[in-house]
Amino acid sequence: METIPFSKNTDTAEMLEINFGPQHPSTHGVFRMAVQLEGEKICGLKPVFGYLHRNHEQIAENLPYAAVMPYTDRLDYVNALTNNFGYALAVEKLAGLEVPERAEYIRVIMAELARIVNHIAVIGFMLNDLGAFFTPLLYAFRERERILDIFEGVTGSRLMNNFFRFGGVKHDLTEADLAEIKKIIARFPAFLKEFEDLLTKNEILCMRCQNVGILSAGDAINAGITGPVLRASGVNYDIRKVDGYSIYNRFDFQVPLGKKGDVYDRYYVRILEIRQSLKILEQALAKIPQGEIMNKKALPYLKMPRNFKPPVGEAYGRIESPKGELGFYVVSDGTPQPWRYHVRAPSLINLTALEEMCLGQKVADAIVILGSIDIVLGETDR
Amino acid sequence: MPVLEIAVKFGIYAAMGTVLIFALGVVTLRNLFHCALCLAAALIGTAVIYLGLRADFLAGIQILLYVGAVVTLVIFAIMLTEHLAGKTVRQNNSQSLPAVIGLAAFVAILAALIVKTPWPLQAASHAKISVMEIGQALMGTYVFPFEVISVILIAALIGAVVIAKKDNSGEQS
């Protein structure tokens, strides 16, 4: 293994170097944190990547545009739908495709459901890192199950949805699906209350999370941190609001902000974001119009993916994925394959500030901080 | 029950032998961690001897204080300094010979004392000292030395805290 350039020299002090990962119960995959310890205090921490690297970008550069869609599912496999969204957005920008009204609504509904799934799962996993033996996680999964059932019924798959198409979506939402989603939304506040009763005021959780892993707003912006982690630091930056992509500017929702930017704020901002997502979903379900789900111009490309040749140019499409800003940079040279395809992965870039957050904290905190950043290795390593 | 008594006696001697072996281990083994473990075993053996001599309370205290607290702290110290735990240490040095001579002299004096002291034979061998009596002795007859010891212990504790604190603040600044 290569040597990790720690800032402090190990030989001088009585320091212990430990690798958390690549096989470790709480690195959420094959991720390695090389940690320098003095007793239990962290003096140095370097993340090491690449254990799940499969060169997603090169695979994509050798495939027609449409065939990349299922691969984007495998980036952040907890919420494949938002990945689809980002890629579809970038390519539609590139090709100048319009999306029909109903399809936009379906996209927003699915993306918000995916956000809810991600946030409850993340809170569950973070609590697991905190040592709560699976209870919050399984409560979260109980609710996630119902949403995944919707995904399965609509998109055909629970995780690897491959649902978005350029200029629309693959399947329509039936009335039954909409009713089912309404039912889920109706029962969600009760679940959130239960979840909060279990966690929010829990003294042990507060002790463990409050004032741990503090990230100031300035540092967060400079380090390119996005998503709930950034908003927990008190920066009002939600791409749904800023860009208003798709039809997000039509909905009335707010951006929850934390004050301190510690682990607790990240936890609670996620809970509040679930509430906002529910709000968006309610509005979307009330307003969803009838109509086409695919742009007529794009229909032939479904049967003939190799005929889809966006004009020469480049596009950077970004969305607010549950993890942060998910950007797709696509360069077309007029052939069926993208010449350059790049993913701006929030899971990777949010780790830039990991070391600062962990320095001086205890070992146990480092793991919770990692859990609160919320990474998925499929996206980090690509 | 003569058989049982014989067994107990035999057990005491066996315990003594074991204690001796482990005590030798403490001073001869090259690995500090092993030494500490031997020390723990020797102390437990001592407690067993106490038990055999029907000093239950003493045995309990012996294990609680020496094994549970002192040895644990020793091992904790050894493990904190990671370099020590893996290393092997030579336990004898150039001063072994004077030490042996000194020890021999000490043993001789002790032996002389033991021989000269008029030990009361058979007097207290079966008298069982209850916990209550120990308590009364500590809180009554020997209350002054008891309290003095506790003052000394408190002083030591405060001293330790002071030292630890200073170390800490120096590191932070």
């Binding site: 040592g131 033996f133 829990n202 902000l257 205890k362 146990a364 | 309990g60 549970g68 644990t72």
Partner: protein, 389 residues
């Protein structure tokens, strides 16, 4: 009615007496004494093993139910054969010894750890007249023996030559030493009230009024019980105090490098400790085997079972403490509370009943709030979140 009850109450005691009497006909006395020890020992060994096996099942079942799932239910009816299947699995697993390990100590550690776990069983009063060894220093014995448990954990963690193990071992040492202090002190009021160290005497001191004389029904007893129970949870490394084997941080702490039967022995010691500690807690504060209608051993096992369920309930609910908070909790919160509790017990002894109740409850509640105020970093901060558009 009473006779039937009495018969069931003493069924195990009479069985043993009958067996010994039978032996006494043919054999010399010392053999009978030896046989008595052997019978008790064998019963304890078997019981320890069985208790451990079924505690694992109970824990998995209860956790499953808490988490809205079934828990093991495939091997045998209701998964009753699951522990046996697990045992077979453990036996057939490869025994892995790390290349750099200190092989002898690595082997010794799991063996040594079960010894104190079994030894504590000696002084647990399972029922009326059902204490294996009625020592008059029973409680001291219990505290002393349970303090030895630190050593094998050290041995295992050090001999594995694994950094996770080492960290786990150090955490264990710190935690065990810290929590022994409030645990011992929380027992002191009980000793003061029952004026004995013998577990049997302590149970007898709580007799009468069909359970209302249990020590838990006094202010100092309640406080002592809570402190003792928390410390017991910490002593047997159970959540939320399971830092030595913190899965999400240290993989498995001190037994990271153990597999197969050695691992099972660590597990066994842990569960047996949990059982005995709950048993002792029941003995000290919940009246032990005292209780109306049911046989004494049923009462004992029932109380212990409930306490174990509470421990499992803790596991199903709480996240884990952090090292410094854990130590802080023991030294800054539990320790002062127990000291005050001893004072309260003394007051209780000297004041007339009604006043005693008032004063001791008042002192305890006030000191609780003062301690909370002093340990303000344990108390959650109030946070306000803004919603911006």
């Amino acid at each position: 009615m009473n006779r039937i009850l009495g018969f069931f109450d003493q069924i195990f005691v009479s069985a043993k007496a009958w067996l010994l009497a039978l032996l006494g006909r043919f054999l010399p006395d010392w053999v009978v004494v030896l046989a008595s020890i052997v019978i008790s020992g064998v019963v304890i060994l078997v019981m320890g093993a069985v208790i451990m096996m079924y505690l694992t099942l109970l824990e998995r079942k209860l956790l499953g139910r808490i988490q809205n799932r079934y828990g093991p239910n495939r091997v045998g009816k209701w998964g009753l054969l699951q522990p046996i299947a697990d045992g077979i699995k453990m036996f057939t697993k490869e025994d892995i010894i790390p290349a750099n390990a200190d092989k002898i100590i690595h082997l010794l550690a799991p063996i040594v750890i079960v010894v104190p776990a079994f030894m504590i069983f000696l002084v647990v009063p399972f029922g009326r007249g059902m204490t294996a060894a009625n020592l008059n220093i029973g409680l001291l014995y219990f505290i002393a023996v349970s303090s030895v448990t630190t050593l094998p954990i050290f041995m295992g963690s050090w001999a594995s030559r694994n950094k996770y193990s080492l960290l786990g071992g150090m955490r264990t040492a710190a935690q065990m030493i810290s929590y022994e202090v409030p645990m011992t002190l929380s027992v002191v009021p009980v000793i003061m009230m029952s004026q004995s160290l013998s577990t049997n005497e302590i149970v007898l001191a709580q007799s009468g009024c069909s359970g209302l004389h249990w020590f838990i029904f006094t202010p100092w007893g309640l406080a002592g019980f809570i402190v003792f129970f928390l410390c017991a949870t910490a002593e047997c490394n159970r959540p939320p105090f399971d830092l030595p084997e913190a899965e999400s941080e240290l993989v498995a702490g001190f037994h990271t490098e153990y597999s197969g039967m050695k691992f099972a022995l660590f597990y066994m010691a842990e569960y047996m400790n949990a059982f005995t500690l709950c048993g002792i807690a029941a003995t000290l504060f919940l009246g032990g085997w005292q209780g109306p209608f049911l046989p004494s051993w049923a009462w004992f096992f029932g109380k212990t079972f409930i306490l174990i369920c509470v421990m499992i309930w803790f596991r199903g609910t709480f996240p884990r403490f952090r090292v410094d908070q854990l130590m802080g909790f023991a030294w800054k919160f539990l320790l002062p509370l127990t000291l005050i509790n001893i004072l309260v017990a003394a007051l209780w002894h000297f004041l007339p009943p009604v006043w005693a109740w008032l004063w001791s409850a008042l002192i305890l509640v006030i000191s609780f709030f003062i301690l909370v105020k002093l340990n303000i970093n344990f108390v959650p901060e109030k946070r306000v979140y803004t919603l911006e558009s």
